[in-house]
C-alpha cells in the first residue's frame, strides 16, 4: 500500500474541513466576534497546515488500489473526527477531551448524540461548526475528496467501495464520476430547499440553515436545548420530516425521480416499504398514545408520533416530545425503527430497509422451499434478482449488527447503566440514530455517562458509520501488505 498516496488524499479532506472551520469562524465574526471566533480560526489554520503538508510533498497518484481506497475512507473518518475536536477543545466550556471527541465523532458520523447540557450557551460560530461537521459527515468526508480530485476514473470507484453499501452500489447504475455529481446536487439542493422552507416557516436564517444542514445529514444536532420542540410549530416539523425522509432515501433514486427516470421513488419497492413502515408505525404509536391519554386528541398524538418515528427511522434524532414518557408499545416500535432505519445510498445509518426487505424475502422463500422442496425461487428486489452472494452478505451483516449491538449493551451494563438505557444507547450509536431511551432519552444526553462509556459510544458510532465490516477490516491492517 502506498501510504504517501493515502496521506495525500486525507490531506485534501483536511483542506475541506479547514474551509468549513473558516466558514464557521466567519459566522462567528458576523455575530460580533463571539467567543468561538478565535478557536475556530486557530483550528482552521492548524487543520489546513496539517493537510497542506502531504499536498506539497506527496506526488499525485492516478490509480488508487482497493486497499488504498479503503485506507483513505477510514483514515479520513478518523482524522476528521480528531481535527473536529480542535474547536471544541480550544473553546473549552463543557468540552473536556472525551466530551470534545464524543461531540466530534457524533457529528462526523451523523449520530447526533450530545454531551452538552446547555446547547444554547454555545456561541453561534460553534453551533454552526457542530452543524457543519454533521453536514460534512452526512455524505461522507471522502465525498469531498472525490469532488475535488483532479484525476478522474478508477480512483473514485475504489473510494466509494467502503462509503456506499453493496446494495446501494448494485442499485446504482451510473458511473462513479456521475455518482459524485448526483450526490452533490441532491445533497446541496436538498439542504438549500430545506433552509428556505424553514425560513419561510418562521425560523431565523441561522436556525434554518443549521437545522437544514443537520436534517439533510440525518444527524439531529439542534441549536436549542428542546430540539425542534422549541419552536412548537407544525409547519416546521412537517418541513423537517420531509427533509429527513428524503435524506434517508437513496440519492440516486431521488435524482432519478427529479429527472423523470424510470427507477423513481414511486416505483422503488424499497422506498415504498420504507414509507409504508413509517406510516404504519406512526399510526400505531399515535393510537397507543391516545388510548393511554398521553395526548388529548388524535391530531396532536399523530403529530408527535409521526415526527418521532420519522426522526428515529431516518436516524436523525430530532425531538418534539419526551419519548421516555410514552407507552411501552410506542417505545418498542421506536426501537424497531432505530434498528431498521433508512435506505441504502442515503445519509442514514442502521441496518437499512433494503437489507430488511431482502432478509424478509429470504425467510419467505425459505418457507416456500420447505413446502415445495423442488421449487426454484429467486429473491428479487425492484425486479432485480439478488444473487446468493448478496443474500449471504445481507444475512451476515444482520448477524454482525445484532452481535455488535449486544456487545455494546454488555459494555454499557458493565459500568452500571440500566438495561433499557444500555440496549437503546447501543442501538442508537451503532445505527447512528442519536437518542435512545432511559438515561439517554430524546430530551436527555450522554453527559452523565462515565468517560469510558462515552468512548465506547464513539467506537460504536464509528463501527456503525463504517458499516461494521469496514471497521472490522481495520483490525486486520497488518495482513494488508
Amino acid at each position: 500500500m502506498r501510504i504517501h498516496a493515502v496521506i495525500r488524499y486525507i490531506g485534501m479532506v483536511l483542506q475541506f474541513i479547514a474551509a468549513f472551520m473558516l466558514l464557521s469562524a466567519i459566522v462567528s465574526m458576523v455575530n460580533d466576534y463571539d467567543s468561538a471566533f478565535y478557536p475556530l480560526l486557530l483550528s482552521s489554520f492548524l487543520t489546513s497546515l496539517l493537510g497542506l503538508f502531504p499536498l506539497i510533498f506527496a506526488e499525485k497518484v492516478e490509480d488508487i488500489k482497493i486497499k488504498e481506497g479503503y485506507a483513505i475512507v477510514v483514515g479520513s473518518w478518523f482524522v476528521a473526527c480528531i481535527v473536529g475536536t480542535f474547536p471544541y477543545l480550544i473553546w473549552g466550556g463543557e468540552f473536556s477531551a472525551i466530551n470534545a471527541w464524543f461531540e466530534s465523532v457524533s457529528g462526523f458520523t451523523t449520530t447526533g448524540s450530545s454531551i452538552l447540557n446547555d446547547i444554547e450557551f454555545l456561541p453561534r460560530g460553534m453551533l454552526f461548526w457542530r452543524a457543519a461537521s454533521a453536514w460534512i459527515g452526512g455524505v461522507g468526508v471522502v465525498m469531498f475528496a472525490l469532488v475535488i480530485l483532479p484525476s478522474m476514473g478508477r480512483s473514485r470507484h475504489m473510494l466509494s467501495n467502503v462509503e456506499l453499501s453493496t446494495i446501494a452500489k448494485d442499485n446504482f447504475h451510473y458511473r462513479s464520476r456521475v455518482i459524485i455529481r448526483i450526490l452533490t446536487m441532491v445533497y446541496v439542493g436538498l439542504t438549500a430547499c430545506t433552509t428556505l422552507a424553514l425560513k419561510l416557516a418562521g425560523m431565523t436564517w441561522f436556525d434554518a440553515t443549521t437545522q437544514a444542514m443537520s436534517a439533510c445529514a440525518t444527524c439531529g444536532f439542534s441549536t436549542k436545548n428542546l430540539s425542534v420542540g422549541f419552536w412548537d410549530n407544525p409547519m416546521i416539523e412537517a418541513i423537517l420530516m420531509a427533509a429527513m425522509t428524503l435524506s434517508a432515501i437513496h440519492f440516486g433514486i431521488l435524482y432519478a425521480s427529479m429527472t423523470g427516470r424510470k427507477n423513481n421513488i414511486f416505483r422503488s419497492e424499497v422506498v415504498r416499504t420504507f414509507i409504508g413502515m413509517m406510516t404504519i408505525i406512526a399510526v400505531a404509536i399515535s393510537l397507543s398514545l391516545l388510548a393511554e391519554g398521553i395526548y388529548d386528541n388524535w391530531g396532536e398524538s399523530f403529530r408527535h408520533s409521526a415526527f418521532q418515528v420519522v426522526s428515529v427511522t431516518t436516524t436523525s434524532g430530532f425531538a418534539t416530545a419526551d419519548t421516555n414518557t410514552w407507552t411501552p408499545l410506542a417505545i418498542m416500535l421506536l426501537i424497531i425503527c432505530s434498528v431498521v432505519c433508512g435506505c441504502a445510498g442515503s445519509t442514514s445509518g442502521g441496518m437499512k430497509v433494503d437489507r430488511m426487505l431482502i432478509a424478509s424475502k429470504i425467510i419467505r422463500n425459505r418457507m416456500k422451499v420447505q413446502l415445495h422442496p423442488n421449487a426454484v425461487i429467486r429473491t428479487k428486489v425492484d425486479g432485480a434478482v439478488q444473487d446468493e452472494g448478496v443474500q449471504s452478505l445481507v444475512m451476515t451483516f444482520i448477524v454482525a449488527y445484532i452481535m455488535t449491538v449486544l456487545l455494546g449493551t454488555i459494555i454499557y451494563t458493565m459500568f452500571g447503566l440500566d438495561l433499557v438505557s444500555s440496549l437503546t444507547a447501543s442501538i442508537a450509536c451503532v445505527s447512528n440514530v442519536g437518542p435512545g431511551f432511559g438515561e439517554v432519552g430524546s430530551l436527555d444526553n450522554f453527559s452523565a455517562l462515565p468517560a469510558v462509556l462515552k468512548f465506547n459510544s464513539t467506537v460504536l458510532m464509528l463501527i456503525g458509520r463504517l458499516e461494521i465490516f469496514g471497521f472490522i477490516q481495520l483490525l486486520f491492517i497488518r495482513s494488508w501488505r
Binding site: I3, H4, I7, Y38, P39, L42, F45, L46, L49, L50, L52, F53, P54, L55, I56, F57, A58, E59, F86, L89, I90, W91, G92, G93
Partner: protein, 282 residues
C-alpha cells in the same frame, strides 16, 4: 487566492518544498506562541483585576468595621463620661467623624455593587448603617429614651448609667451587631461576585494552554510526516541512485534509478544516466 493555493499544491521543486515545509513549521510555532502569549496576557490581566478587586473589597470592609467599632467605643465612653461639657463634646465629635466615615465607605460599597448580580447586599448594608447612625445621632442629641432624658435633667448619674446601660444592651448593641453582620454579608457577597471571574480565569488559562498543546501535537505529526516524505522522496531515491551507480561501476549493470517524484532528483538521475551512456559509448 486560488492561483496562490494552486501554486502551493503543485510545487515541484525540491528547494521550494523544503522551504515551504520549514516556513509552515515556523508559522505554526509563531502562531501558537503568539496566541498563547495573548491568552497568558489576558490571564495575567484578569488575575490582577481580581486581586485588586479583592484587596479593595477587604480594605473597604476593614474601613467600615473600624469606623463602626470607633463609633461603638465612643458610645460606650459617652455613657460613662464624667458629664463635663468639653469631654462630652470631644467624644461626640469623634463619634460624628466615625459615623461620617462609615457612611462614606457604605456609599462607596453601594456604588461598587451597583453593577453586580447582588446589589441588594450593599443596599441592606446601607439601610443598616443608616439605622445605627440614626440611633447614635439620637443618643448624642439626647433624644433616645425618656428615663435617660429625665435622669440627665435631674442630674442623677447613677440612674443615668443604669438606664444608658439598659438602652445600650437592648437597643444599640443589637443594631451594632446587625451592622457588623451586614458588613460580613457584603464581604461574602463581593467574594461571590468574584467567583464567576475566577472560573472565567481558569477557563482563560485553559484556553492559553490548549492551543499550545494542540499545536505541539500537530507539530509532532507534521515532523513525522516530514521525515516520512523526506525519506520517501529524497533519501531513498538518492540511496537508489547511489546503489545503481555503484552497481554500474562495479558490475557494469545498467544504470537504473526509478523515481517516486518529479523534481530535481529526476533531473539528477537523467543527467547521471546521460553520463553513464556517454561513458559506455567511449
Amino acid at each position: 487566492m486560488i492561483k496562490l493555493l494552486k501554486n502551493i499544491f503543485t510545487i515541484k521543486t525540491l528547494n521550494r518544498r523544503i522551504r515551504v515545509a520549514f516556513m509552515s513549521l515556523l508559522l505554526l510555532l509563531f502562531f501558537s506562541g503568539a496566541m498563547s502569549l495573548f491568552e497568558l496576557e489576558r490571564v495575567s490581566k484578569d488575575t490582577e483585576d481580581i486581586l485588586i478587586a479583592s484587596k479593595e473589597n477587604v480594605d473597604l470592609a476593614g474601613d467600615m468595621l473600624t469606623a463602626l467599632n470607633e463609633q461603638n467605643d465612643m458610645m460606650i465612653t459617652l455613657a460613662v463620661a464624667s458629664g463635663r461639657y468639653d469631654e462630652i463634646k470631644h467624644y461626640s465629635d469623634r463619634c460624628e467623624e466615625s459615623m461620617a466615615q462609615l457612611s462614606r465607605s457604605t456609599a462607596l460599597a453601594q456604588r461598587k455593587m451597583q453593577n453586580t448580580d447582588t446589589p441588594e447586599a450593599a443596599d441592606s448594608l446601607a439601610y443598616q448603617v443608616e439605622r445605627v447612625n440614626q440611633l447614635t445621632r439620637a443618643y448624642i442629641r439626647g433624644e433616645v429614651h425618656l428615663p435617660i432624658i429625665q435622669a440627665r435633667e435631674q442630674g442623677d448619674t447613677t440612674a443615668l448609667v443604669v438606664y444608658t446601660h439598659k438602652w445600650y444592651i437592648d437597643e444599640y448593641r443589637p443594631e451594632y451587631e446587625k451592622t457588623v453582620s451586614s458588613i460580613t454579608d457584603y464581604m461574602t457577597g463581593v467574594h461571590n461576585t468574584l467567583g464567576p471571574e475566577v472560573n472565567n480565569l481558569s477557563h482563560t488559562a485553559r484556553r492559553a494552554v490548549t492551543p499550545v498543546f494542540i499545536s505541539l501535537v500537530v507539530m509532532v505529526v507534521i515532523v513525522i510526516m516530514f521525515y516520512f516524505f523526506v525519506y520517501h522522496y529524497y533519501v531513498r531515491p538518492v540511496l537508489r541512485i547511489n546503489r545503481s551507480l555503484g552497481d554500474y561501476l562495479t558490475y557494469k549493470k545498467p544504470f537504473d534509478g526509478e523515481m517516486p517524484c518529479r523534481d530535481e532528483l529526476v533531473t539528477l538521475r537523467d543527467r547521471i544516466a546521460q553520463l553513464v551512456n556517454k561513458q559506455s559509448k567511449l
